[in-house]
């Protein structure tokens, strides 16, 4: 089974709304200021080879971290903000891996500031879903490498 946009959107919603109680509204506006965003990427390899990226503008990343740490946004450290976004991609990637048939393994999340660099390259072809997370954008991209013609 391959992952479609609806499935990806549902998984993101389960993580952010179901577990964290965040107000998540799907949107078609799959863009944000990537020059000041936190990007977390995780790789799934084995039976299914893919990359998942969670892209959270700093405002969204702080909302997520504040919820996870039950702490005021002003009191959050940079490490806590990155850790929170990393845990989101970990849960999204893990759940996607569970949906696809075959045994695969999950890497550790790689988290950093994007600085405007698209991690999948300018020729990215894959699925992108976007939500308004408490009113701020949260973007999730899936690159299914096995779907790329060799």
């Amino acid at each position: 089974m391959s992952i479609d946009a609806q499935t990806l959107q549902q998984v993101v919603n389960d993580v952010c709304s179901g577990m964290l109680g965040l107000d998540m509204v799907p949107t078609d506006q799959a863009c944000c200021d990537e020059t000041d965003a936190v990007s977390a990427v995780i790789r799934i390899s084995g039976g299914w080879d893919s990359l998942v990226q969670v892209l959270a503008p700093r405002t969204t990343a702080k909302i997520i971290a504040s919820t996870m740490f039950a702490t005021e946004e002003a009191a959050l450290s940079e490490e806590e903000i990155r850790d929170a976004v990393g845990e989101i991609v970990n849960m999204v990637g893990g759940n996607l891996k569970g949906i696809v048939e075959g045994e695969s393994s999950l890497s550790l999340p790689c988290v950093g500031n994007t600085g405007g660099e698209p991690p999948f390259g300018a020729d990215f072809v894959g699925i992108t879903v976007a939500h308004n997370c408490q009113g701020d954008p949260l973007i999730v991209r899936l690159l299914d490498k096995s779907a790329i013609p060799g």
């Binding site: 179901g18 806590e80 970990n90 849960m91 893990g94 569970g98 999950l106």
Partner: protein
């Protein structure tokens, strides 16, 4: 009464702490399985360990195997809190000695129900 939380994510450790601490546990935290083993040796008696699978240095499965190889910890319950949902992976962890699974994402009620099932949380809590 101690509960040990092992996860490389500080955010996840905090989420778990906020659920488990009100049940009356003193919380110990570790960032990987190796640190978890050190915590166990220092604490003496630990009632329950909540352990992630996918971690650096020593992963959750390696931790579970190490604990179950040591008779000192045979009474301790272990719950794997993980994104691993593949039946083969779950079977591997159960064979290694995990008592229960909690799949991420989870809610507080799900975790508390699992702790009740293995007898480490008062059954009246959160009812």
């Amino acid at each position: 009464m101690y509960a040990l939380i092992i996860d490389d994510s500080r955010a996840m450790r905090r989420i778990l702490r906020n659920i488990v601490e009100p049940l009356g546990f003193e919380i110990l935290e570790a960032g990987n399985g190796q640190e978890g083993l050190t915590c166990l040796h220092q604490a003496g008696h630990v009632e329950v360990t909540l352990v992630d699978w996918n971690m650096p240095v020593m992963n959750g499965l390696e931790f579970v195997k190490a604990v179950r190889a040591d008779d000192s910890w045979r009474e301790m319950k272990m719950v794997m809190v993980t994104t691993e949902t593949e039946p083969a992976q779950m079977a591997r962890a159960l064979m290694a000695g995990v008592d229960e699974f909690v799949m991420k994402p989870f809610t507080a009620d799900i975790l508390i129900d699992k702790l009740k099932l293995i007898g480490v949380a008062a059954t009246g809590y959160a009812d």
